[in-house]
């Protein structure tokens, strides 16, 4: 490890989050807080049906000037997100629907008025002339040979079929004494950021520039694609993400709403605003998950897995989202399927299906939550098949530390770590022996106790090599930082990431403190504005701490050298004899602070050493040495009580042991883990948007769509391990998504452990009371 923890504010210190005061005091400035005089409000007229030909929109005469259709913004280009993978069938996602409607919630028209309520009145007054088509509302319906095509000219309703083939599966199949097969489902749900999406666009006449505020995770990237879609120069477009109240991947897409609102502001020349309401969010924001698995393991009699075969089918909805493409979800799941286990032979298939549903996009734990659910359910099933404890089977199958670094059958390069030790620590904390003793005793209230665990690896901060391999439209290889002292000796960090809950305004300052010794209170972190900071990729894929942290470190290290040179000169000391510590350049008992050094650099060049350039700032770009990603990992273990009479599941205990390399701020890391776990419990137990056979979403408000609240959040016990990555600055690995990956797997395993005496098993998330009771009744019927 390169960092030494000498200071109370540097890398490794649990510094309190500097952004919290404004956020908790109501001083945050979110999209809906912005005030631009003369703003008109947009209500989108959205499709009420899943699949139809759009023949016309009848607009009442008095609203003719208040309603805008596709032809009114005909200068915009549709959103096309295609991967380079062979066979990918591409979709054109227009800002406003032209001839065809492909999901409930698709935008048809923009209605404007001084208030949102009036704009909704106008939308309600319009009538649609439609020819309804049969809804392709489900994977099986979409894959039927005679299924109606959602996109004209496609061979079938499949975006992409891909395969990974590693090793000789036929040989393994022929000789495997134990074969276990599972069919599993993970439900479709929404992202549910606390702040919904929103866009405000206006034209700045002085600068000749279109200004677009969006609640986005990557403003620079949006600027690029928006300029292309609008047909304007990037230099004439500014994209700003103000305070963003959660993203989770949903706000890391280029949305048709962004394009439509920006286009309308260009057309009208007045400020235009759209704030997504919760119903729009649930129905029409990019959805999450909806995976189906067919997975077969071939093992020996001890449960050691010799080969694995898996098919992942994902319902990606009607369009391919930019830039990730529709194929990312299934591809990532199939590509990480072997997880932390040493499984040499693997054949995986990924099928991405197109249906009449809201497009699927990235969501915390992309693909991996499903892969973990599939594989970890399988490991429990193998353990049952060979009559052993699942924890023993897990430990024996894991990649041992002696094999690190390790290349998996799917080609992932696991850089460092001790996976079995992590699992052992989680186990020691949850104490399976005690849980099993309680299970055997029985509960006075008749509930059944279950123990479950799940392990995973989390690819994070992947750079050029990984994104190129995925055939992406954009390669997110690096991150920049500009570190600039002000003439009074304070520091501003300009970064290309976007902070929306991760604490980056604090942790990036900690990195600067580590290099320069400047107090965190004297540092400002600026982000989220394409006109303020250098071009960067934004915040997603558990990348910002590693990437932007590396860039800040590099820029500050360059500054530290200059600070020392100027300081030495001011102290009339040889450069080798001075030290930079505690915000001072010192020579013996003499010292000089940042204020005097910055004053010399900016306002008194005559005080600088000869040949030293005035000014005190440094620009750096950082890319990890190994761009296939730094792999974090964890084991989650939990105890549940299942009520066989009502199907209710209660979490009695939840333990996470994880390793994300060097922790910049352990307090923030812990909170991120807990937040992720609760979100993962949403996938496991509550969140779902089912569709009926007409393609209507059946959960469109919080009445029907349940999310875990504070009372449902268990007291998660978090244990930390720190194995620094050999490839990143300070050994940092990303960890933003991990918490959400394992809960579906761990909870399903625990529930099935509890249901074992009844011979029942759940194979689908969310694990609702209805599903638990149905499983119990099915088991009763079998007996």
């Amino acid at each position: 490890m390169t960092a030494t923890r000498v200071s109370g504010e540097g890398v490794g210190a649990s510094v309190r989050r500097v952004e919290d005061r404004r956020l908790l005091d109501g001083g945050g400035e979110y999209l809906a807080d912005l005030r631009v005089p003369g703003t008109v409000e947009v209500a989108f007229l959205r499709s009420p049906v899943a699949h139809a030909r759009l023949k016309g929109v009848d607009i009442p005469t008095q609203f003719r000037n208040s309603v805008f259709l596709a032809e009114d913004i005909g200068f915009t280009k549709p959103i096309v997100a295609a991967t380079a993978a062979p066979g990918f069938q591409s979709s054109e996602y227009p800002a406003l629907a032209r001839e065809k409607l492909r999901f409930v919630g698709e935008m048809i028209a923009m209605c404007i008025a001084p208030t949102r309520a009036e704009a909704e009145d106008i939308a309600q007054a319009c009538t649609l002339d439609l020819d309804e088509l049969p809804a392709v509302w489900d994977i099986d319906v979409a894959l039927a040979a005679d299924a109606p095509r959602i996109h004209e000219g496609w061979r079938d309703n499949v975006f992409l079929r891909s395969a990974i083939t590693a090793g000789d599966l036929a040989g393994i199949k022929a000789n495997a004494p134990v074969v276990v097969q599972k069919t599993l489902r993970m439900g479709r749900h929404a992202g549910v950021s606390l702040e919904t999406r929103g866009v405000l666009a206006h034209y700045d006449r002085r600068l000749g520039e279109l200004v677009v505020y969006s609640s986005t995770q990557f403003p620079h990237v949006i600027r690029t694609v928006l300029a292309q879609s609008l047909g304007i120069a990037e230099s004439r477009l500014r994209v700003v993400a103000p305070d963003v109240g959660g993203g989770f991947g949903i706000k890391g897409n280029f949305h048709p709403e962004e394009l439509a609102v920006a286009a309308l502001a260009m057309k009208l020349g007045c400020p235009v605003r759209w704030i997504e309401d919760r119903r729009e969010h649930l129905v029409a924001s990019p959805h999450a998950r909806e995976h189906r698995y067919r997975i077969t393991a071939y093992a020996d009699r001890s449960g050691r897995i010799r080969g694995l075969e898996a098919e992942v089918v994902v319902d990606a909805g009607a369009y391919s989202v930019w830039p990730w493409t529709a194929a990312m979800e299934a591809g990532m799941s199939a590509g990480i399927m072997t997880g932390p286990y040493d499984i040499p032979v693997y054949h995986g298939r990924a099928v991405t299906v197109c249906t009449n549903k809201s497009p699927l996009g990235p969501y915390r734990g992309v693909g991996r939550s499903g892969a973990c659910f599939a594989l970890e359910t399988m490991i429990d099933a193998i353990a049952r098949a060979v009559g052993r404890n699942p924890e023993d089977v897990r430990l024996e199958n894991m990649v041992p530390p002696s094999a690190m670094p390790y290349r998996s059958a799917t080609g992932k390069f696991y850089d460092s770590g001790d996976y079995p030790e992590c699992a052992r620590r989680a186990l020691a904390a949850i104490d399976p022996a005690a849980v099993r003793a309680r299970q055997a005793r029985g509960e006075p209230d008749g509930r059944l106790i279950g123990f479950g665990m799940a392990s995973y690896t989390e690819q994070s901060a992947h750079g050029t090599a990984e994104w190129v391999a995925r055939g992406m439209p954009v390669v997110f290889g690096y991150e920049p930082a500009l570190a600039r002292f002000t003439p009074d000796g304070k520091l501003i960090l300009f970064v290309g990431i976007q902070n929306h809950g991760q604490g980056l305004e604090t942790t990036l300052a900690q990195v600067a403190h580590q290099e320069l010794g400047i107090a965190v209170a004297d540092i400002v972190v600026r982000h989220g504005d394409s006109s303020v900071s250098p071009y960067g990729m934004g915040t997603f894929a558990s990348r910002s701490m590693t990437m932007a942290g590396g860039a800040v470190s590099r820029a500050c290290a360059m500054l530290a050298e200059k600070v020392k040179r100027i300081g030495a000169h001011l102290l009339q000391a040889p450069i080798d004899a001075v030290t930079l510590a505690g915000g001072q350049v010192a020579f013996g008992s003499q010292s000089v602070g940042f204020a005097a050094i910055a004053e010399a650099a900016y306002r008194h060049p005559e005080r600088l050493p000869s040949g030293e350039e005035p000014g005190l700032e440094a620009n750096a770009v950082y890319e990890p040495q190994c761009s296939t990603g730094a792999f974090s990992y964890a084991t989650h273990a939990c105890t549940v009580a299942v009520d066989p009479g009502t199907g209710m599941v209660e979490l009695l205990d939840y333990v996470v042991c994880h390793d994300c390399g060097t922790m910049v701020n352990p307090m923030i890391v812990e909170a991120q883990v807990v937040g992720g776990v609760v979100q993962g419990l949403g996938t496991a137990l509550y969140e779902e948007i089912p569709y009926d056979e007409n393609g209507q979403p059946l959960a469109s408000t919080f009445l029907d769509y349940l999310i875990p609240g504070a009372p449902e959040a268990p007291d998660v016990r978090v244990l930390h391990m720190e194995t620094p990555s050999p490839h990143t600055r300070f050994g940092i690995k990303g960890m933003g998504e991990g918490g959400a990956i394992a809960p579906p797997a761990a909870v399903v395993n625990a529930v099935n452990d509890a249901l074992r005496p009844l011979g029942a098993e759940v194979t689908e998330t969310p694990i609702t009371p209805e599903r638990v009771l149905t499983a119990i009744l099915a088991a009763e019927a079998r007996r």
């Binding site: 909704e120 009479g645 509550y686 009445l703 449902e712 209805e770």
Partner: protein, 274 residues
């Protein structure tokens, strides 16, 4: 999710309220914890919202010898906090703390909840269990309807055009009566998936058993209550409950049938053990 335009009036007297409510497109606002979200979703076309919040006569409580009369605009939290006398041996204050979140319970009212007749509304089931009588008032005058007769189906009640609930009258339950309550909700604050209330008075030989959140009006099971009172074995009760649920013909899924069976039996067991 903004409401369509509507007029808002806040009458100062009950007579004025009744006169306003009889006009077409008028709807009573009695706390608004369900109605306002419905307005925002543009599900309920309303031209005129008649806010009952200003009517002191709907907030009073009258404690008489045989029963207690609660004004329809008494908030859930008022019951929960024990600010009104209790006619139910503690069942009503208990129920009032079981549903929604406190912010909703501060504003939502017993009369509003019963008048909406959401099948999953806890007060609906409780009123039927406690044999409450609803005091209705309209332009034609006042009338009295038993809670059981009041609910006709999901969101359908005996309320006539322009009629509103003035008060909920709960007969004082015998001190010898015990209650049992079982409720399943997927999470805290959520609507019930199933809810059962049992009342057992061994001394008087009286028992009542009611199922709520049953996709329609609450269902009474007098025969099962009688069997439980006479000390029927648990297996026999289980079978009887199952049969009675099937006979109710509400189209329950097998899982829902199992869940309702559980809540009914647990409510009975709790009432019997208390």
């Amino acid at each position: 999710m903004k409401p369509a335009p509507f007029a808002y009036v806040r009458p100062k007297s009950l007579g004025e309220a009744v006169a306003l409510l009889v006009q077409s497109g008028a709807r009573a606002l009695a706390g608004g914890q369900s109605l306002v979200p419905m307005l925002n979703l543009r599900l309920a076309p309303v031209e005129r919202l008649v806010d009952l919040g200003g009517l002191a006569e709907l907030r009073g409580v009258r404690d008489s010898s045989g029963s207690i009369l609660y004004g329809a605009m008494t908030a859930h939290a008022v019951f929960e906090d024990g600010e009104v006398p209790d006619a139910s041996n503690g069942l009503m204050p208990f129920v009032a703390g079981q549903f929604a979140f406190r912010a909703v319970r501060n504003r939502g009212t017993i009369g509003g909840a019963i008048a909406l007749a959401d099948p999953a509304a806890d007060w609906l089931t409780t009123a039927v269990a406690l044999e409450a009588r609803l005091h209705l008032i309209g332009v034609a005058g006042r009338r009295l309807v038993g809670a059981e007769e009041f609910v006709l189906g999901p969101y359908v009640t005996a309320l006539g055009e322009g009629e509103l609930i003035e008060a909920v009258e709960v007969p004082k339950r015998a001190a010898s009566e015990r209650w049992g309550h079982a409720r399943v909700a997927m999470k805290i604050g959520d609507y019930a998936e199933s809810m059962a209330i049992a009342l057992m008075d061994r001394k008087a030989g009286r028992g009542r058993l009611v199922l709520g959140a049953a996709d329609g009006a609450p269902i009474l099971f007098p025969e099962i209550a009688a069997r439980a009172l006479s000390g029927a074995a648990s297996d026999e009760l289980r079978l009887a409950v199952r049969r009675a649920l099937l006979a109710a013909d509400r189209g329950f899924t097998p899982a829902k049938l199992a869940m309702h069976t559980t809540t009914l039996l647990r409510a009975l067991a709790q009432a019997a053990a208390a």
